[in-house]
Structures are given as C-alpha cells and as structure tokens.
Symmetry: C2
C-alpha cells in the first residue's frame, strides 16, 4: 500500500503470497483471490519478504541518489529540480524522484535495515542500504545548514530567531508522522537555540526528536511572526501563494517555491540555491 | 537514444536544449522542433548535460543495486529473478532491473565518471557513482567465480576446460560490443587457463580485454564441444531451447534458463543457485 494514494490500497494492487509448502501457498492464495484481483504465488515466505524489501530499498536508494545530486547541484550552481524535470521527459528507462528533507513513514527508513542486518549473518555487507541510509539520515542536518545560511544572509543566527516550519508529516497530504524527518529538523533547530513553531493543516500536535511537543499554529500568523520559514512538506492544503507573497525569508526543501514570482533573495531552495536565479527558475522547462 | 529500441531514436523522444543565453536556446530549440516533437528548453548547457548524466547514473545505480541483491540472494538461497518479477507486479513506485554480468555500451559505464570527476573539483565525492561502479565492474569476476563453482561440481578446473560463451554484445539484440562485460569475462577465463570460444548471432569477431581476438562459432558445435557454457546475453536469435536440451553444464547470467525443464545440477543461475531448485524455479510466479 501507499499511504495517501487511495488507488493503492484496494483490490487492484497485486498480493504476493509465499507459503512454507506449495499446498499452503495455494490455499492462502485462494483466500486472497476473494480480496485482490491479482495474487502472485511465490516459492517461499522469504521470496515474498525480499520482494517487499526490494521495493522499499529501491525507493530508499533512489531518494538518496537524488538527495546526493541535490547537494552536488548546490555546489555547482545548478538547479536539481530543473534537472530532474528534464530527465523525466525521457519516455523509457527512467523514473523521477525528488529531493527532500529526508525519508519517513513506516517502511522506507526502517525495512532496509532488516535486510542489512540479515545480510550480515551471511557475511554480506549491503553497501547500498548503508550508503542510502547515511545520505537520507543526514538530510535534516543539511536542512539546518540551509536555514543557518539563509539567516546568515540577514545577519542573523539560528539562536534567537523565530523559525516557522510548514509541514511535519512524512510526505504530502497524509496525516502520518511516523519517522518524519521534521522531527529531526525541528529538534536540531531547537538545539541550536531557534524558537521553532509549526503549521500543518493535517496535524494538530507534533513531538520533535528531542521530545518537545507543540501545537500547529495558524499559517497566517506563522508567516507574519517568523524570521525564517522552512517548507518541509508540499501539502496541497497549504496556501503556498499566500506564503510566498508574505514571507520575508524561506528555505524551501519541497519545491513549493518553484514557478512563482519571488523577490530577490527571498527563497533558498534545497538542491539549487537562492531564487530567483536570473529569472530562469520560473521561466524554464517550456516546450 | 536507446540502442536496439527503434522507438527510442526518432521524433518522439524529447530533446533537451540548453544554450549559453536565452536567445541562443530559443534559436536552437526552433531548429530542433523541425526534428523532434518535444523540445525542452533548459537554463544552461550544464543543466542539460546533468539531466543526461542523471538518466545514465539512475540506470547504473539501479543495475548495481540488483547485482548486489543477486549476490546476496545466492548466499541466502533465494532466487533474485523471482524476487524482481514479484516486486515488478507493484503498479506504482517501482521499476524493475535485472542482474547480469556487468554494464556496457557507450553511456552507462562511462558517463557517470565524468560527473564524479567534475564533482571532485567542487570538493564533492559522488559516493553512489563510486559504489555502483565498484559493484558493476566486479560482476565479470563474479561470473568467473560461478564458472569455477560449476566446473568444480564436475571435479574440473577452469584450466584445461573448454568454455563456450553465448553472447558477447553489451545487451540483447544489438551488434554493439563497446565496453561489453564479455570482454572481461572471456579474458579472465583465458587468464585462468580456460579454452574459450564464443557464439553470437550478431557478432562475427570479438576481441577480449586481453587483446585476444576470435571468431563466432556455430552454436550447435559450441554446445557439443564445451565442458561449460556461459550465457551472457539473452539474444532472441539464439536457440535457447536447443542450448538447454543439449548442454551438459551452463552458467546462466542472463535469465535464459528460467521456466524450462532442466536436468538436475545442469544450470547454475546468477543471483539464484543450482536449478531446478525443488521445481520452484519453473513453477512459480503464476497468478
């Protein structure tokens, strides 16, 4: 299943069934055929579990790959969002992933480590799981660096600044906060002396990784009172137009600032840099 | 473009255009619109080049990811081909890649290193490119290990054995041998004293990585005279049915042995093990 995607939870998603014996597999598959249109019989429970892990690891690795590219693009003065959009025009052999403040949910940041743990029992180091984890886990720290860079451009420090975080769930348009990278971003900002509040249209209360719990604030007052906004999740229910009209300084990690009329040095975009970049960021990509 | 795929080379594949100035981009885009249905204008040549590199790195990394999983599945007694097929039933968020003896062609094994080289000039180590390269480059050695394991099961060594390689191009159904992993597999087998011949329906002569050149042999005589066959490329023009009816011992790195009636201990499959595995390898995966 795919939280937030109604099409992913129903009858049309294939079900993998692997039993300890062929008759067991057949009987369980027969049962599931009352529920799912497609039931795939596998040779063992291990094969079914590995297929599930492969799907999770595929996403974990490809998110990490684009997060690494985002950090490289920042150094090179390129816009990773433009690059991914351009690559995504390829009609075969490519699947686009976008950068962000890290990975969350109950699968992607968790399941790969089951496999890495089990692999070690076979004397095998799962180097992709280790690398992807290392990069994705480090993204909240990178977001904090961007926040420090943005505030620095105004002669401010994190310490003593009012920082408004927009979006705390683990991905857009879901109420799920399990393993959300927002918990790390907010805790790290508070550790450095930032006065952090948040708004999320779907979440009322949120506890950061340091155990500090707070309530969602109205968006308009958050925008008005913050020295810096940090956009973490591109919820559709957020009035981003209003955010970018009124906010003085924004770190955008979710692509919400793209294709807008922005003031000079208003937005620092993850994987890119200060917007607008020569008018290109809003004007490119046409066909 | 995608060698071997006629649909990929024509008008329907979008063209990315990034000029040094906006007017230059517009004029070149206008020209290409006579050729390609979709022309995407980017902010710079660098952005266009990075998009091309991202497409190549995506494939390089995902092939390496499944190659790593293949080696892990061998240790765990699982069949990576079954696992990938099962994961590929997921209708969203997944793209299947299959394992093999390495990567070839004029893009995937080459272009990522341009980026890694350039990244270092910005003080940035592209860890994914390094890891993916390391794994994919090591696959020919792994194939040689499988060949040694297969021959060992018959009390034989690579030295003195007649080994027939089927397929030397860099991927199925193309005549392109640039950077083909077959060049490394064959050279490594010859270094160890193997007497290597090859058959490829699309390639007449082939030079291995050690500079030894030889001619394609008729498939039937290769099958008859070899102590071991190594299937490297799943060309459709090869009579695989005949191969598996007549060959005594095969290392399959291309999935050509799957879903066939095989004799016990006839085939050692990359990413899996000895086939048939309890009758599962040919009987699984139904729905």
């Amino acid at each position: 299943m795919n939280p937030g995607d109604p099409a992913s939870s129903g009858r049309d998603v294939p079900r993998l069934v692997g039993g300890l014996t062929k008759p067991a597999t057949s009987r369980v598959a027969k049962l599931f055929r009352y529920v799912n249109r497609t039931v795939v019989e596998l040779s063992s429970p291990d094969a079914a579990e590995m297929a599930k892990l492969l799907e999770n690891i595929f996403r974990n690795v490809n998110i990490a790959l684009v997060n690494q590219l985002a950090m490289l693009c920042e150094r090179m003065g390129l816009d990773v969002w433009e690059v991914v959009d351009a690559a995504a025009t390829k009609p075969f052999g490519f699947m686009p992933f976008r950068p962000g403040p890290g990975v969350g949910g109950h699968c992607i940041p968790v399941d790969p480590y089951y496999l890495a743990w089990r692999a070690r029992q076979f004397g095998f180091v799962d180097r992709f799981v280790e690398l992807a984890g290392d990069i994705n886990v480090s993204m909240p720290r990178h977001v904090v660096e961007l926040a420090a860079e943005a505030l620095n451009s105004r002669g401010r420090s994190i310490k003593g600044s009012r920082i408004g975080v927009v979006g705390v769930s683990f991905k857009p348009d879901v109420r799920d906060v399990r393993n959300s990278p927002a918990a790390d971003v907010i805790a790290l900002l508070r550790e450095r002396g930032g006065e952090v509040s948040f708004h999320d249209p779907l979440i009322d209360r949120f506890k950061d990784a340091g155990g500090h719990e707070s309530e969602s604030q109205p968006l308009a007052s958050l925008v008005e009172t913050s020295d810096l906004l940090v956009a973490l999740v591109a919820h559709r229910a957020v009035d981003w137009q209003m955010v970018y009209e009124r906010a003085g300084l924004v770190v955008d990690t979710a692509g919400t600032a793209r294709h807008r009329n922005l003031r000079t040095d208003q937005v620092l975009l993850l994987g890119s840099g200060w917007l607008p970049a020569g008018g290109d960021s809003s004007g490119n990509g046409g066909n």
